[in-house]
Symmetry: C2
């Protein structure tokens, strides 16, 4: 990440992080809500994570732990300060309202109606806190017939149209191994928060609003041209495995040394280059493969030839040949490949963060990369309630005795 | 979408769209760059699409056309004004610079170095246009060893770790049927643009910067806990089809009437509810299925039982039973299902936009939903160069004769 060192001109004052001075309250629980807050915290917001006493964000219990510290939490809790607070009790709700009075953004992803039940819904807060940006993430949104249905990623993804098209025609629709719907929703939620903050602070309304983000909608936004094509042309897309009629050949191929690679032939020129590196230049003029239309018709034949060729070579040989010839190609990376890739490290897409007890921990970096005010990771995910004194004492001004009483009563 | 009608208090002035008065130049070509600009345009930015004379954005050629109008372009060109401009020629580059002088945000997704070759790279522009936010989308980013590699979605996705984990253990890694990497990158790019604008206008630096967004990085950001778990625990995730060890049973099941449904059992209480609606209450106390650990060990047995039960019923029956019992479940929707779903229509996740020649066209709506300044769709994707007179005449003040000369020379 190239950091801009205050070039001449401009006001001369040092530039601050985009969200410097802004406070985000993260009431979210795994996964989309907390990740939205993480993204905002990477760009300078002070993120206070509100967690249920004793339990904490369920994200702390997902996936493996490293010396007792949950790996996922180390990442998605980064830069945050953690406090405990029982929102189910009136004294907890009162403290929540006091904290909300200090905040710019609130993020929550409870089932719709839950925050309202605690007196912390947007209708309860908007008059008292007109500047508040209230980000609500849910499976099916804050209104509409399905509003209060439980919000499981797999269910929302199924209804978004994504799952039906993922996988092979002779196999069931398949859920991906990476939670794209949860994560994409988190990015949409962060975008919504920024739009609302910009309207408040740069357009000058001085007022907040609610951002309503639904898991199924974030995924549905990516549904290509399928709705108008269905409506007007009766087009009904089906699962097609790796087959993409816009580009043939394009597939996953296994090399002689057991590495999956992929390549994608987008033009006849690229196909000729592929035929050349395969040492089969005659394929480029073979009537079966003369253009994409014919290659689609004969996709099994051409994919079979490429599969056999890749299977005879080591992956590094094949990729060097393909890249040298200008054929878009690359390995299908495992986590081990990603871990050791030099490009990923140089750019900071993979980075290390110092953890107090674990030392330097490798994790994905800050995305996107900003040239003048780049995002930062300062800490890994905190311990549950690690910052109770900081926040309740330092921000709300509660004394030690009061903190002790609240802790004993299980409010914090 | 509940629109807020200026409740009492506040400045009293009507609130404007978040990006009202901001201009975005969309130099992108299919897909991530243009979609970033679409998202900004939905929230009030004036988006000017710059297209190559005669060719236009290749997105106009992707997927089916409806009465000669490409379905995808109708969606991702919405709200935009289109002008033609040949950036390969100095006269075109001069006009581009004049347009850039009027803009807040520039979005481009050429291969790194391409805009520089035209004198339109960020280093060429930053001094002359210090307020410009310059969003660069690419496969592998603007710097680093892979910086100039061609940027195909499938290749970047393969290197992000997503593809390796998508699909079945006995089948090759599979590309999803929906371009999640391209779309997620577009959302990250829009988030980056908003962060940069907020820093410029609300933090008051008055200065722009470059936002560097890479396809592979946007997808890698979603890579769960895999990097630290690999580093410290040697954890190597593999493709597992629909199997998720955190929740068993959870799968795709086919109903008697040929509809795929999904369900997800996250707790023992939910499992007991499932056993009840299956009319097999004894399963809840069966030692093989007594908790998730045992259900994981016996996942084939329990998935087999659920599969057989679902196969005996109509999907609507099964889903009514499951929802009534509080078991998270839903259909795996096809485009036809999405098209007719009432919730999707009521929320505006699916909406209609009036096209000049096609009439009302159904497409995905604006995501996310903002309560006080909701996004809007005013027009479908424009014809190539439809707004040449508007922009070159109205914005740059070129006369009709000059426009005619530029058109004749093929500059516009």
């Amino acid at each position: 990440m190239v950091s801009e060192r205050q070039p001449g001109g401009g006001g001369g004052s040092a530039r601050v992080a985009p969200l410097s001075g802004r406070t985000v309250l993260d009431f979210g629980t795994a996964l989309a809500g907390p990740v939205c807050a993480t993204l905002l915290g990477e760009f300078g917001a002070d993120v206070i994570k509100i967690e249920r006493p004793r339990f904490g964000d369920p994200l702390r219990g997902y996936g493996p732990a490293i010396e007792g510290q949950p790996a996922w939490w180390l990442i998605e809790g980064r830069n945050k300060r953690s406090i405990t607070l029982d929102l189910r009790r009136p004294a907890g709700q009162d403290l929540a309202r006091r904290l909300i009075g200090t905040a710019d953004v609130l993020v929550e992803n409870f089932r719709p109606g839950t925050m309202d039940g605690w007196g912390l819904g947007y209708p309860d807060l908007r008059e008292q806190f007109p500047r508040l940006v209230y980000v609500s993430v849910s499976g099916f949104g804050q209104h509409g017939p399905y509003g209060d249905w439980p919000a499981y990623d797999r269910v929302a993804q199924g209804m978004s149209g994504f799952t039906y098209l993922n996988g092979f025609p002779d196999r069931p629709p398949v859920r991906p191994g990476v939670g794209v719907t949860d994560y994409s929703t988190a990015v949409f939620a962060a975008l919504g928060a920024m739009l609302a903050l910009y309207e408040r602070d740069a357009q000058g309304s001085g007022r907040g609003q609610q951002v309503d983000v639904a898991l199924y909608e974030s995924q549905l936004r990516m549904f290509h041209f399928f709705l108008p094509a269905f409506e007007r042309l009766g087009f009904l897309p089906e699962r097609a495995g790796n087959f993409n009629p816009a580009m043939v050949p394009a597939e996953s191929f296994l090399s002689a040394d057991g590495t999956w690679i992929t390549l994608a032939v987008g033009t006849d020129r690229i196909f000729a280059a592929l035929a050349q590196v395969m040492d089969r230049p005659e394929l480029a003029t073979d009537p079966r493969f003369i253009d994409n239309k014919h290659r689609v018709e004969n996709h099994e034949a051409i994919h079979g030839l490429v599969r056999a060729w890749v299977a005879e070579h080591r992956a590094d040989e094949v990729l060097a040949l393909l890249r040298g010839a200008g054929v878009p190609a690359g390995p299908i990376y495992t986590v081990a490949d990603i871990y050791k890739d030099e490009h990923f490290r140089q750019r900071g897409s993979v980075t290390t963060v110092s953890d107090r007890t674990l030392g330097d921990i490798t994790m994905q970096g800050v995305i996107p990369q900003l040239s003048s005010t780049p995002g930062r990771i300062t800490t890994t995910g905190p311990a549950l309630g690690e910052h109770n004194e900081d926040i309740y004492g330092g921000v709300l001004g509660l004394g030690r005795d009061e903190l002790a009483r609240l802790a004993e009563a299980g409010i914090i």
